[in-house]
């Protein structure tokens, strides 16, 4: 996949602007709908050049084109990081193979849009394993992903006791229960603005 547009267009899109907004911002003075300046601000050349309201169209009524919650941004930062790890030199210690990256991304995207919990943190592991971590005041949860295999461990921070979970996801109910363990309660909202609790 390649980007068809330069940074300006990408920024315009990511800022939630319409394509008309971008057209207006790149237009030259004199476009239709421009306003006149007060006399005191007439350009010194003597030629009256109507100004351009370059941001006039930039205000979409809302901004459904990008996540605007800190929570969504954190999930997307994790996905972006995983993609970059997958692109690293295969000999690099932090390299993650494509299968592991793909599995991780799908899981994180599912948790982002369907559950209400916090985003995990990541650290690469030897042997192309990726580890996702969630922390509460008492428990640290680690999910190791290698290819399409998972291993879940809880560590009590005080006692250092470890608990290995057997992941059985042979029914939808068990799968949902497992996702809920990682992602918290199922979210009720689904719109792009409100996917954060």
């Amino acid at each position: 996949m390649t980007s068809h547009f330069g940074p300006s267009m990408r920024n315009a899109i990511s800022a939630g602007l319409s394509d008309r907004a971008f057209s207006a911002s790149s237009a030259t003075p004199g476009v239709q709908g421009s306003r006149s300046l007060p006399d005191s601000q007439t350009p010194q050349s003597g030629r009256t050049t109507p100004p351009v309201d370059i941001w006039r169209d930039c205000y979409a009524l809302t901004f459904p084109e990008r996540p605007n919650s800190d929570r969504s941004r954190q999930f997307l930062a994790v996905i972006e990081a995983i993609r970059r790890l997958a692109k690293m030199d295969p000999n690099h210690d932090w390299h993650v193979d494509e299968k592991t990256a793909s599995t991780s991304e799908k899981l994180i995207a599912t948790l982002n849009f369907n559950y209400s919990g916090a985003a995990p943190k990541i650290f690469p592991h030897e042997g192309d394993t990726l580890v996702l971590t969630w922390e509460s005041p008492r428990i640290k949860r680690l999910l190791s992903i290698s290819g399409d295999e998972f291993e879940l461990i809880d560590i009590d921070k005080l006692s250092r006791v470890k608990c290995d979970h057997l992941l059985q996801i042979d029914t939808p109910e068990k799968f949902n229960d497992w996702l809920s363990k990682l992602g918290g309660a199922p979210s009720s909202r689904s719109d792009l603005e409100g996917n954060a609790p």
Binding site: Q41, P51, A60, T62, E80, R83, K106, T110, F113
Partner: protein, 262 residues
């Protein structure tokens, strides 16, 4: 479905107009889903704007996005990890004093989208983990007080407290439709807009602001299937979308939150 939508059209209070409509498919895998081709398949024309992105991140979450703006309404297909969205979005009007001029007839748009989904035989032919339809509608009014009245009328909430502001209500009522659990999230609020413009001419930059705040009563209906670990088969998806649309039209047309009791 068509009859149910038509009944909704007849009953719905036409003062409210559409701001955003969104149909979303939540997927485990969005491999090989390309927004421009889906846009063409769904709306029958190439998009005016198309972008693909190798590494989506917080600044630009999309793997691909395609859209066309026509008569102040932007139609888009958005693809990002975990979901594909079909979006219809009213743009702010060119005239700051008529900011809401591009609001659209949401019932006609819902009918159009539902019809196109059938004609295209569901353009996204893959199992989904969740489906969603969201309709946000506005009724432009002359004052905050008038918008507040719409809020009170729909919510049933009453108060004689003076100088009210910051009105907002959101609730969810689950319902089982044809064996599928759905969330019915309804949000009510008062929406205000004031337009700022940055004018540029050689050597001069000037900001201006529309003299008044424009108000609207806002209703948001986010009806979606409950994520329960099951996958929704392709053949079941259009009936589920039909059910979501019908339920949104029924609740919005009722003019009261009491409609969530059934």
């Amino acid at each position: 479905m068509r009859e149910r939508i038509n009944r909704g059209v007849q009953k719905t209070q036409m003062a409210f107009r559409g701001q955003i409509i969104q149909f979303a498919w939540f997927l485990h895998s969005i491999d090989d889903v390309h927004a421009p081709s889906m846009f063409n398949q769904f709306w029958g024309a190439d998009p005016d704007l198309a972008q693909t992105n190798r590494a989506p991140g917080p600044a630009n979450p999309f793997l691909s996005i395609a859209g066309t703006s026509h008569n102040g309404v932007l139609r888009q297909i958005q693809v990002q990890p975990g979901r594909v969205d079909l979006v219809v979005n009213a743009e702010l009007s060119d005239d700051p004093e008529k900011a809401f001029a591009n609001l659209f007839n949401y019932e006609a748009e819902l009918y159009d989208i539902s019809t196109r989904l059938k004609v295209a035989d569901n353009p996204l032919k893959r199992e989904a983990t969740r489906l969603s339809t969201v309709v946000t509608m506005l009724e432009p009014v002359g004052s905050y007080t008038a918008a507040a009245k719409r809020f009170f009328d729909f919510s049933g909430f009453k108060t004689k407290a003076p100088n009210l502001s910051d009105l907002g209500l959101q609730l969810n009522s689950r319902k089982t439709v044809d064996g599928v659990d759905i969330n019915r999230v309804v949000g009510l609020s008062v929406f205000g807009v004031q337009v700022f413009s940055l004018s540029m001419s050689p050597g001069v930059a000037q900001t201006s602001m529309s003299p008044s705040v424009l108000f609207a009563a806002r209703r948001m209906f986010d009806f979606n299937t409950v994520p329960d670990g099951r996958t929704l088969k392709i053949k079941d998806q259009l009936p589920i979308f039909d059910a979501l649309v019908s339920e949104i039209l029924r609740v919005s047309a009722s003019g009261t939150l009491k409609s969530l009791e059934s």
